[in-house]
Symmetry: C2
């Protein structure tokens, strides 16, 4: 029973759906408690929600003896959720049910610097592929979530001034995908916001109200949760910490400024420092690794050198960690999070990086702000984005009629 | 009819009270709309709220002709709200009605470095004074809000590691005041959080979802609004930007670290630089002003020198503005606020300071984050705290029973 019309609900209907999403199943009495509806009104409203195809009564075969209240659950035949997690060099596409269970997952290399039409056409091929795997049709997709590695104007669903993917500036991702899947709602968000959401729904951040999720890779970005909700800021670009200034005399960053955190401490800076250390005789190990890799240095080789105790490699990582930690110290004073989760390619550098980050934060933050602060790698780091993009769709698919965000 | 018992409401009752606070008066139908209650239930619940003494029916004398729905409003005989705004060197005490209208206001010099019992005893004398002015009794106080210039653990209502007022660490402000006014609820918050709330309720920030309110005086602090709500962070100390590092080789701050923003750019640093400029012959004007003021330099004298175009004074202010702007640039990248409001004693330095701050922010923030960013002095700066402390009490006085924050 695919939806052909906008899914707009009254505030109370949306509340019922939210409770359903949280608890999986729910009794009539619980619905009455949540909404404050009378018994009679509850019955009528539930009937409407069942008729609209959102709810269904739970299989009575499960009840045993006595008079059990009939439970209600999501109509799992309502349709499917698609997640598209676009990374700098890869594309993950997921199919999930309305409970958020991931049913299918395909992944292949991609290049986000290509024009949006090229990349999104590749995405559509992948979506069609998972639909086929699941044996279902495009018009059964209720919602599509798209995560992109750049600043997103969330309300318009477009990238704005994205340094990694300039061709995508203002490209109408939503309408492009809606042309292929007209029944689906499309929501677009920044990749690290999505990872933060994934951590909050499926990782170690369940129940946390104030935390920062940091991704360290080719760039450095963060997702912010304040009072339990994603803080996107006024233009939707909150969390863009990669271009905070670390050294006014530092190297020029791709953003045009000097000494940005990203230019000083992220993947490319680590590689560059490692090449220097290999070439100027500081590290024979790095030189050997680079030669064995056809003369190409990578962050992974620096990581491998760290594991063998190479002092030059360790110093490069410690220095990155310290710069990241110095920036985080400022943000800890400002934001007072209970947790900082770290993920991304560079997080594979393990404890050396983490210790350097922690040390810098503890040295420069106020005591009260670090009393309970925990800084750790995300345990679900690699799949936080995949999980989060599905959670994002579910969050916005059923919305209050007062905030018909996705009807735009 | 003073309340002798905790004001705990059901979620829906609290919703009615919130709507009342917002709209002033409200019809039965509006209440039914807001809560989803049936007509019958609405009648019963309103009767309960009237019996409890929260609501009253609006004077029917006002209705003219036809059949008008009876409007409901707050029971203005319910009691009074007291605000205590403790600054570093002054105490403001306010009396307001349940609508937040300020009825009485007294103010006198104070010294927050004195022991809490001394300062709070002074506050109690002032509260008794305004009660007398208004001709009412202590047991008519419904709630007392206290603003203090230091980091507050909001849930416990105590100061934690306050640099300006070390004696207050963990002092039980709430129970001390409740001894004097047993019927009153007491809520304690950081002074700049309260100013931010005041700006949001009565200033230029009405309706704004994401902004930062900055107070620059002897110290530098900020109040943060995210998604329309005060962001207090995990330990209640969010916004403490005065100790963000500006220069690792800078002077030692009272917090023990080097080169904190506060130590480099706030009032005392400005005074110190001005003394130097006066003494080393850089500014004859500053020297003259200082001599005329019994050899004592103050930020006000630096401001006066700026107004006369004194180059050394201007450079001192520009330099402060630039350092503050550099820190704000990082926070703008991270938080993406739509507005920054500036208040506090140093904001009297006017445009020179503001221009320097704006320039630094624009130079170092990402374009998307500054597209719509507005940085301005708070127009209600001087009274933002007074207004905010009353708003704070009203916010927390009528709470959902699920979150009986103030029953602690």
């Amino acid at each position: 029973m695919p939806m052909k019309t906008p899914i707009l609900l009254t505030a109370q209907e949306a509340e019922v759906i939210r409770a359903l999403r949280k608890k999986g199943q729910i009794s009539r009495m619980q619905i009455s408690d949540i909404t404050g509806w009378s018994k009679a009104k509850t019955s009528i409203e539930i009937r409407t929600l069942i008729d609209k195809g959102y709810l269904m009564e739970k299989d009575e075969g499960l009840s045993e003896g006595g008079r059990k209240p009939k439970l209600l659950k999501f109509n799992d035949q309502l349709g499917f959720i698609v997640g598209i997690d676009i990374g700098a060099t890869s594309i993950d596409v997921l199919l999930a049910d309305v409970f958020g269970n991931i049913l299918q997952h395909v992944s292949e290399p991609g290049d986000v610097r290509q024009p949006p039409k090229t990349v999104l056409a590749q995405c559509i091929i992948l979506v069609d592929q998972i639909l086929k795997l699941q044996g279902c049709q495009g018009d059964q997709i209720l919602g599509i979530g798209v995560g992109v590695p750049g600043p997103v104007d969330f309300s318009r669903g477009v990238l704005v001034a994205p340094p990694l993917m300039p061709d995508w500036e203002n490209f109408p991702i939503r309408s492009f995908l809606k042309e292929a899947y007209p029944t689906a709602y499309v929501v677009v968000d920044n990749d690290v916001n999505i990872m933060a959401l994934g951590e909050q729904r499926y990782g170690d951040a369940i129940g946390l109200d104030h935390f920062i999720f940091i991704k360290i890779g080719t760039g450095i970005g963060s997702g912010i949760i304040s009072n339990g909700k994603i803080h996107r800021g006024s233009n939707g670009c909150a969390g863009d910490i990669g271009h905070i200034c670390v050294d006014k005399q530092g190297p020029i960053c791709r953003c045009g400024n000097r000494g940005c955190l990203e230019a000083m401490a992220a993947g490319p800076a680590i590689t560059e420092k490692a090449i220097k250390a290999a070439q100027n005789g500081e590290s024979e190990l790095l030189l050997r690794f680079m030669k064995e890799n056809e003369g190409i240095m990578t962050p992974e080789l620096v990581s491998a050198a760290c594991r063998e105790g190479d002092e030059a490699a360790l110093e490069i990582i410690r220095s990155s960690g310290q710069m990241i930690g110095d920036v985080l110290a400022s943000l800890v004073n400002f934001f007072n999070p209970s947790h900082i989760f770290i993920a991304g390619g560079i997080s594979n550098f393990g404890n050396h990086l983490l210790v350097a980050i922690k040390r810098a934060v503890l040295r420069r933050s106020l005591p009260l702000a670090t009393t309970d602060l925990q800084i750790n790698f995300s345990h679900i780091g690699a799949i936080a984005g995949n999980k989060g993009v599905i959670a994002l769709v579910l969050e916005y698919l059923f919305v209050d009629e007062d905030k018909p965000f996705l009807s735009v």
